[in-house]
Amino acid sequence: YFYIFRAIDEDRKTKYRAAVKIQRWFRACRVRAYLRHLSKMAILIQKWWRGYLRRKHFREIVERAYFIKKLKFYNEMAVRIQKMWRGYYVRKYIHNFYALKKYLEAVSVNNMLVRSELQEYAEMKENEEKMKDLEKKEKEKKYQARKMHYLLSTEQIPGIYNSPFRKSPDPMELLLRKSKPLIHRKQQVKSPFAYELYDWPTCKKPPAFVTSLPLLPADRQKPQGPFRDPAEVLWQRYKPLEPTLRVRESFNSPPAKARAGTRREEWRNPIHDNEFLPFSTYHKNVEKYEPSLRRSGKYGREAYGTKHFREVYPKKWIADKDFETLFSSIVLFEKFGKTYSSTGQIV
């Protein structure tokens, strides 16, 4: 028995266990299927919901993306325009290469001009200096020649500079012949004002004599009255003599003597003494003497102007008296007509 019951019991337990297993497994399957179903539903709902949401926002997103794309494009284009403009502007106005080049060329041309002008100016100055020196030397030479005028050669004795062995005289000889002999006496009176006027034209010594007074006594009392400015007076007084050509020529010079010669000839030689005698009918008719109206009267010349000057009408006198002269009359005129009488009567 025990073994049979145990076998039946174990059999029963095994079958019970198997049933539990089967039921367990089946229930698990059912639960699993249910969970699967649930998750599938959840997924479905979420899927539809998310799609809906996204579709709602899709348009905005597309618009935004489009807008950004447009903006980028515009930016690109704007950059391109700005790039071109800035390049143009800088090249034309701020840093114009060609203008700069032209300017530099102009500067160099201008420099060349300036340099040449300055060179000319420097040369001119040098020439002036040289001319001044030359003139000074000339002056010196002439002065020396005037001083040593006695070295001139005469007819008999040849001078130092006119040696007989030379073909032509020395230039000094020619200079001596040309120059006037120096007179020392008048040499001292060189008016200080005159010399400065003839100084070489560099304005080194401008005519200062006009404003600077000569050495008057230090505490001289200035004379009262409307006197001219002493500087002016002195300038006028010491004005250098500038005689005309005719006056400047000395009386003894050869041309003057030659002129005197011809004058004497003319005086000696003429046929008539009256050169301008009337010789034609023109003179007879035109150049007749017509006396002036004042001096011509009915019967020839009036006595006025020759016999008497002042007319006297005693009938018209008021007080039986002639004019009383206040001043003493001029003695010479009183003696008019009475100095020499025709019959020798002495007044």
Binding site: R115, L118, T211, S212
Partner: protein, 447 residues
């Protein structure tokens, strides 16, 4: 010193006028000769006696008194101050109003010596009302008087802008400008120096000077036969050029740069200095102006100056001017380098005898930083000290990566070898440059 001053003192109050005059003349000559004598004259209290009777005296006495005052004032500021404190300025103004040009000359000379020392004394001279009278003196026909008046105005206006403005307000500029074409050399010196002292203070004063139409005329002064006229003319142009680019532009447009360059070429010594500085100032303002300086052939005279001159400050000025020309762009630096100036600059830099300001490190650095003209840089590579080497190598490293021909030249002239020999700390700028250079070449050549 044997009591002469005390003996002369009673003679100043003598009845006879010529005795007074001669005593004053003696005192003037004593004071003129020596500082101690001048101080003795001041201490003996002669100045009040000299001055008190001045208005009634004749012109010879006035001239002599002005001579005494000038002789005392010229030695030192303290003596000039003593002269001013005695009330001499009013008397000198009375002398300036006198008719005789000799008296005016003496008075303006005395004013000049007083105003020379310091701004306070110049201010005292201006306060005494001397400036309009001096301007009148300039218009007088006598040349000596014009000279002295111009030098006095120059001494007054050199101290400060206000004094210069006072001189300008009295209408001095027009008259000074009219006298520039005058043939007398000493007068031109003084006039040019007066104008340059006025122009140096501010832009407005410089513009006023320029408006007086000095420009083409001043250039003729640069061709004068007298050295100091040239120097003062160059100084005037320098003072005008240094203020603004517009004024420098004006100078360039009127051909002033060419004249200054010729002037530098024709002189020797300190006379060149203002001309060199003018070029430096003009070139410093902008690159167009420095290009204009280059085009006017400015670099050769400057390099000649650098090589020839012995004086330190002239060489320093020439180096500075070259630096200003070359520092703007690569083009400018190329022009400077082509003139073969860099080796000279480097020699001066390396030379241990030259002074600090001559070394002018900034000049060399500025030029080198812009210089891309490699043939000129090559010789420097072999000789330069480390501080300069950095810049040279930097320049090579900028140019070599792009230019094949230059690379070939670099190798053939042995530059690459030299570069390898340089030891540099890793990570320093120099090492980076060396690396850049080495990277341009294939490995075999580098080793």
């Amino acid at each position: 010193n044997s009591g002469v001053v005390c003996l002369l003192r009673p003679l100043l109050l003598d009845v006879v006028p010529s005795v007074r005059q001669t005593a004053a003349l003696a005192l003037g000559r004593l004071a003129d000769y020596d500082v101690d004598l001048a101080e003795a004259v001041v201490k003996a209290g002669i100045l009040p006696q000299l001055i008190c009777s001045l208005p009634e005296e004749n012109r010879y006495y006035k001239k002599t008194a002005a001579f005494v005052l000038r002789a005392i004032a010229k030695h030192s500021p303290q003596l000039a101050q003593a002269v001013v404190q005695c009330g001499a300025l009013e008397m000198l103004v009375i002398c300036l109003e006198d008719f005789d040009p000799g008296v005016k000359e003496g008075a303006s000379w005395a004013f000049g010596y007083i105003a020379r020392h310091n701004p306070e004394l110049s201010q005292a001279v201006v306060d005494a009302g001397a400036v309009p009278l001096l301007v009148l003196c300039i218009q007088e026909p006598e040349i000596a008087l014009k000279r002295i008046a111009a030098s006095t105005l120059s001494d007054i206006s050199k101290h400060s802008p206000e004094l210069a403005q006072t001189v300008v307000d009295a209408g001095a500029i027009a008259h000074l400008a009219q006298m520039i074409p005058n043939p007398d050399a000493k007068l031109k010196r003084q006039v040019l120096s007066a104008l340059s002292q006025i122009a140096k203070h501010s832009v407005d004063l410089a513009e006023l000077v320029v408006e007086a139409e000095i420009f083409p005329v001043v250039l003729t002064c640069l061709k004068d036969s007298d050295e100091y006229v040239k120097k003062n003319g160059a100084t005037l142009i320098r003072e005008i050029a240094k203020h603004t680019p517009e004024l420098s532009q004006l100078i360039v447009n009127s051909g002033g740069v060419a004249a200054v360059i010729d002037c530098i070429g024709s002189c020797r010594g300190t006379v060149r200095l203002p001309g060199i500085m003018t070029l430096g100032y003009v070139a410093a303002h902008s690159e167009d102006l420095s290009m204009a300086v280059i085009v006017s052939k400015g670099i050769p005279p400057l390099s000649v100056c650098l090589i020839e001159e012995h004086e330190d400050h002239i060489k320093a000025a020439a180096a500075w001017a070259l630096g200003q020309i070359g520092r703007h762009t690569a083009e400018h630096a190329r022009h400077v380098a082509v003139a073969n100036v860099l080796p000279t600059l480097l020699d001066i830099f390396v030379d241990t005898r030259s002074s600090e300001d001559l070394k002018m490190k900034a000049t060399l650095k500025n030029i080198l930083q812009k210089c891309t003209y490699l043939p000129a840089l090559e010789p420097l590579l072999h000789e330069a000290p480390p501080s300069i080497m950095k810049h040279i190598i930097g320049q090579f490293s900028k140019v070599l990566p792009h230019d094949t021909k230059a690379r070939r030249l670099f190798v053939t002239t042995g530059g690459l070898k030299k570069v390898q020999e340089i030891k540099a700390e890793p990570g320093s700028l120099l090492q980076e440059y060396i690396n850049t250079i080495n990277n341009c070449y294939p490995e075999e050549i580098v080793r």
